[in-house]
């Protein structure tokens, strides 16, 4: 094998696949990246796979002699990331796993392993395909990923539930204390198994979707992205990149029924003003229990945010608001409010509440269809 590419390109693509390389591999070869240099197409492809998440990416290189082998991911990226700009030559003997890396300043030899034992990324023969516009996919991910549970014992709640039907897609994530739902429209679907329009719902691990978000942002393509599903796998493919992920098993909670239809209080505030005030409050709130109290005053048309961090200090902010309904005092985890508000991209947000112990809903006014439900914190003296 012999190929020439730039340090920049190799480094960028290595860092993408490295994120799918497990830190504690169940088999030694999984600690490696699979490197495939194809002479005919002059493409170099890299693969990382932890048996659940798989990332494959390829780029143009000058392939003088094709070949395939695996190299230790961490070692390789640690070296390549420190190499100077410019061309790199990767050179390996035909049946050897020792690769020589030559750059302007020096040369390194790295011992790898054969490619025979490296597992193939899953493929889906039958199953369903949806073609998603990039923007819609990014919106869906941005608006839901933050609300997944980071607690691995919570299984399906560590993922995002994605439902697809003829009208569009719906992304949902919840950790049990808040729920984010994003609806996107307008997509083409195709079902190889039948004539009906594709209709399915799956739960995809948050980790895989975070990688997907990162990859799409780095390499934005104008073309819609093909998303394939079957019983156990998700495969996303675009341009020269592919991401595969095992799906999370188990029934996702029926979240629709949790969203109240009617509210007795409603307020509209400037999103940035609200965020800045909450961020200042959070400085003190984070010292203690992260709780912020909101006092909605209909008469004054303002919301008073306050924090009382026992033994540390207290704070108070007033945010002008359009309030209808009745006055209310309600408390939240300030982090939950901030994460939701930051995922919106509108100038104004609407907040709807009933009582101090029932779910409240935040929605961006205009633009995307997003519903963010937050459970309050109950305060008892």
């Amino acid at each position: 094998m012999k190929l020439i590419c730039t340090q920049n390109e190799l480094n960028t693509h290595l860092s993408l696949v490295s994120r799918a390389v497990p830190s504690r591999p169940s088999h030694p070869v999984l600690a490696n990246v699979l490197l495939n240099a194809d002479e005919d197409s002059q493409q170099v492809s890299l693969t990382g796979f932890d048996l659940s998440l798989g990332v494959q990416t390829s780029f143009k290189g000058q392939v003088e002699e094709g070949g395939i082998l695996t190299l230790p991911a961490k070692l390789l990226s640690d070296i390549v990331s420190r190499l100077p700009d410019g061309e790199i030559i990767l050179d390996g003997e035909a049946d050897e796993t020792l690769v020589t890396l030559t750059c302007a300043s020096g040369r390194y030899q790295v011992r790898g392993m054969g490619a025979e034992e490296y597992p193939e990324l899953p493929t889906i023969a039958d199953g369903q395909v949806a073609y998603l516009p990039i923007e819609a996919l990014l919106e869906g991910l941005r608006g839901s990923l933050f609300a997944t549970s980071s607690d691995e014992t919570k299984q399906v709640l560590t993922g995002v539930h994605i439902a697809v039907d003829a009208d569009g897609m719906e992304f949902a994530a919840t950790d049990g204390h808040r729920l984010a739902v994003v609806e996107t429209e307008n997509l083409e679907t195709e079902d190889k198994g039948g004539t009906d329009k594709a209709k399915f719902d799956v739960t995809v691990p948050g980790k895989a979707l975070r990688e997907l978000e990162r990859m799409i942002q780095m390499n934005a393509s104008a073309e819609p992205i093909a998303v394939r599903f079957d019983q156990g796998q998700l495969i996303v493919q675009w341009d020269n990149q592919r991401l595969t992920s095992r799906l999370l098993e188990g029934q996702y909670p029926n979240y629709r029924q949790l969203i109240p239809k009617q509210f007795s209080r409603q307020l509209t505030v400037d999103r940035r003003v609200f965020i800045s005030a909450l961020e200042r409050i959070a400085v003190l709130a984070d010292q203690k229990n992260s709780i912020v109290k909101l006092n909605l005053s209909v008469a004054d048309q303002e919301t008073v945010l306050s924090v009382d961090a026992q033994d540390v200090g207290s704070g108070r902010e007033t945010v002008p608001s359009q309030i209808s309904g009745e006055d209310l005092e309600i408390a939240f985890n300030v982090k939950y409010l901030l994460e939701g508000l930051k995922s919106f991209d509108t100038a104004e947000v609407q907040m709807q509440c009933n009582t101090s112990t029932s779910p409240s809903i935040l929605t961006p006014l205009g633009s995307l269809k997003m519903t963010y439900l937050v459970m309050p914190v109950q305060v008892r003296s």
């Binding site: 919570k154 729920l179 909670p253 949790l258 229990n289 026992q310």
Partner: protein, 365 residues
């Protein structure tokens, strides 16, 4: 090196049990334990001296205690009373010094090198404190007096109950040399058994080992063993030590491989941790499960809740969930532990509770 310190360790005798016997004449002179009931799989929090004769000790499952002594009296803990007594004895300590480091409700270190009454004799102070405790609370305490915390603690346990023991500075090294290693504070049964296997039976044997070898053999705690074998302990008495965590752990003489046994052990540990949590009047938000496998590899797995952890049910639920992401199904276990952290004192009148979405379909959070 600074001037020689004067450290007193005061330890109430069978504290909870003695309080119960003080308040209920019918309990006096009888084997009694404070703790959970055997039928509720409780654990012993404290055993009276009469109960100890049957081999009953704290942290033992109440069932086992009952089997050892069928006439045993079980009393539910009354933490408010213990707290009140604890405040009384701490107030007595502060008559002598503000350098008081409470270790539990019934135990504290005092540094009386400088003291409010300018008494030169630490032994005299210890005698006075014991007398005042007896007069004002009707309970007995044991006192150990020496030049550092380690020796003071060993000394207070030397002559229990109602004891007073002094290890003078010039006798410290010789005292430790003759001390059987199972009497060393910080060396538990399992470590003691391992030391015996290595031919270490007394402080003198322990002293033969280099610091490097002790660390290689026992890990970080080896540094501490090296020092105490030489009667050295420079830890200061810390009056404002803030408790950041509450925990309990148990190492097993024989590695555990069976899931049911592991769960039973964890339940006992959970009971102890809960008792300590209640005793310290706090709630926690984070639970950490510690597992040491047979090959000494140690892992911890934690979870943090938005709601306070304050009951056995929650502790057990979290423990089981965390156990599911360990390798106990495939690897034998030599130590299990549960620690609660992220503590909030209970003295606040306001309670906050993060509310949870109510999923249907049997979905629980």
């Amino acid at each position: 090196m600074d001037a020689i310190r004067k450290i007193i360790h005061i330890d109430m005798d069978a504290f909870y049990a003695s309080v119960e016997q003080r308040d209920e004449p019918r309990y006096r002179g009888k084997p009694l334990v404070v703790g959970g009931l055997p039928q509720q799989r409780g654990v012993v929090a404290a055993a009276s001296y009469e109960a100890r004769k049957f081999g009953i000790h704290s942290a033992m499952p109440s069932r086992t205690a009952y089997q050892k002594c069928p006439t045993l009296i079980f009393v539910k803990p009354r933490f408010e009373v213990y707290h009140a007594v604890s405040r009384q004895i701490r107030e007595i300590f502060h008559r002598y010094t503000d350098q008081v480091e409470p270790l539990a409700l019934d135990e504290a270190y005092l540094d009386v090198t400088q003291n409010k009454q300018e008494k030169p004799s630490a032994t005299l102070i210890a005698q006075e404190i014991k007398a005042q405790i007896l007069q004002e609370t009707g309970l007995t305490a044991s006192a150990g007096i020496s030049i550092n915390k380690f020796l003071a603690k060993v000394a207070s346990g030397f002559d229990k109950p109602n004891g007073l023991y002094l290890i003078p500075p010039d006798a410290a090294v010789a005292f430790v040399e003759t001390l059987p290693i199972e009497k060393f504070h910080g060396i538990g049964q399992v470590t003691a058994a391992r030391m015996h296997e290595l031919g270490i039976h007394t402080g003198k044997d322990l002293k033969q080992w280099t610091e490097l070898d002790l660390v290689a053999q026992f890990g970080k705690v080896g540094h501490y063993y090296y020092k105490i074998a030489r009667a050295q302990d420079d830890r200061p008495v810390e009056p404002n030590r803030i408790r950041r965590s509450i925990g309990a752990e148990n190492s097993f003489a024989e590695d555990l491989g069976d899931r049911t046994t592991i769960l039973t052990e964890l339940e006992q540990i959970a009971q102890l941790v809960l008792q300590r949590l209640t005793e310290s009047k706090a709630t926690a938000r984070t639970l950490t499960l510690k597992v040491k496998y047979a090959d000494y590899q140690q892992i911890t797995r934690s979870r943090t809740l938005t709601t306070p952890i304050q009951d056995l049910e929650t502790i057990l639920k979290l423990t089981h969930e965390l156990l599911a992401i360990t390798e106990v199904d495939r690897r034998n276990v030599r130590l299990l532990g549960i620690t609660l952290s992220n503590l909030t004192p209970n003295n606040s009148d306001i309670h906050y509770q993060q509310l949870t979405l109510s999923f249907k379909q049997g979905f629980t959070i």
